[in-house]
Amino acid sequence: MNSSNAFEVRGMNLHYGSFHALKNIHLDIPKNQITALIGPSGCGKSTFLRSLNRMNDLVEGCRIDGDIRMDGEDIYGKIDVNHLRKRVGMVFQKPNPFPMSIYDNVAYGPRTHGVKNKPQLDALVEKSLKDAAIWDEVKDRLKKSALGLSGGQQQRLCIARALAAQPEVILMDEPTSALDPISTSHIEELALTLKDQYTIIIVTHNMQQAARISDRTVFFLLGEVIESGETEQIFSSPRDKRTEDYITGRFG
């Protein structure tokens, strides 16, 4: 295992019942970079993302073989799934703040992992909200319901909530698809600042977004990785015809 990689995936296959959703995936995901997963709907990019924190375990009839290693450790081996999910945070497509106060939302992760000390919790909540660039907007209403925030704010709150669990990797599943352009640019800026401390893997339908923020891009089609590499290279001189067709908008 190369220590500069957060994940190394070898010969991974995923089946939903009899449907072969991911086919023989080989992929390295480097640390402290933004990796964008692109491809048409149903190509398996979200499924791949969700197998990195084992959210697919919830899907009945989902079967995974092959090897997915995080820091050299087989995440489908004998590991604590909850600990894995603490290390690999996730931001969902639709903002999903819990129906409780802003503070309690952010404190959910730390409390789950045993932080009870109030000053420590306060500091962690504040730091996470600052890192998610939403502190100034919510600092006076921490005890108010998170559901009163706008969609864009809710998504940044969800990022803060993920950060507060102190993960190493953050998975983002089309985090801006439900947001307006201004909120989207907030989230993108945020992703760029966060990559110094975290490894970010983002699924996006938005080509420009992938080009703007990611260091590396992986193109999925019909359950296969067609091409992966530096974002610049993928967008300027794709090696595969299908990649070129997709990013120039000829299908998908």
């Binding site: 924190n53 945070g89 819990f98 969800c158 909530r161």
Partner: protein, 278 residues
Amino acid sequence: MEIVFLLAACMSIASVALICIFLFANGLPAMKEIGLDNFLLGRMWKPGADIYGIFPMIVGSVYVTGLALAMGVPVAILTAVYLAFFCPQKAYRVVKPAIELMAGIPSVVYGFFGIAVLVPLVRTISESVNGRGNSIFTAALLLAVMILPTVIGVIEPALRAVPRSYYEGALALGATHERSVFFAVMPAAKSGILAGIVLGLGRAMGETMAVIMVAGNQARMPKGVFQGIRTLTGNIVIEMGYATGLHREALIATGVVLFAFILIINMALTLIQRGEHR
């Protein structure tokens, strides 16, 4: 065609209205004659001497209902959580119909069960405190069982209606299945859970037959949970058969009080839920 539906709807509204009119028309004069203070706060119920104080019955109803909720609601909530999030398919096909069946058992049958099983049981365990088998505790225990299907039946769908994104969100933060259910899904189902509890409250307060059979029915202030008590509903049923004149009207006035309780509970629920949605 529409008129048929309208008529059907009017039927239920008309019944509520008629019940109201009947209750208040017959009950209020008695309250006036006895005096509202004497009636509601009087601690003596002696129809033979024309003394009608229903305070012991109010206390009885409140005690029995409160204790029944304290025992029944936690069980109901945990059962609903089990059904919605832990129960394997196979077990669900057995447990769910069993709970639904509970709702269909006539209350007099519950009463028999109470007399045959709970009364001797409670008598034995409360022997040291000179307790009776027919007591507040026995009635509450029986009611706790009786409200289960009602409360579970409301809470389980409320839990299932919580968007899955809350559950997944908690899980993705590294929370266990249990923690996700209890600290992310349950708070989201708060108003549904509350509705279930209030429905159970109404059911417990209104239950008559089973309670009469195990509560002892002494119309006096209780001195402990292992002593007998008479509830508002019990008071009406026990004496209505032979009551005449003011006595009869005092019983109807007891019904007014019961009705008022239920009305307040329902209004409180509506207010709470309205607050939730804001």
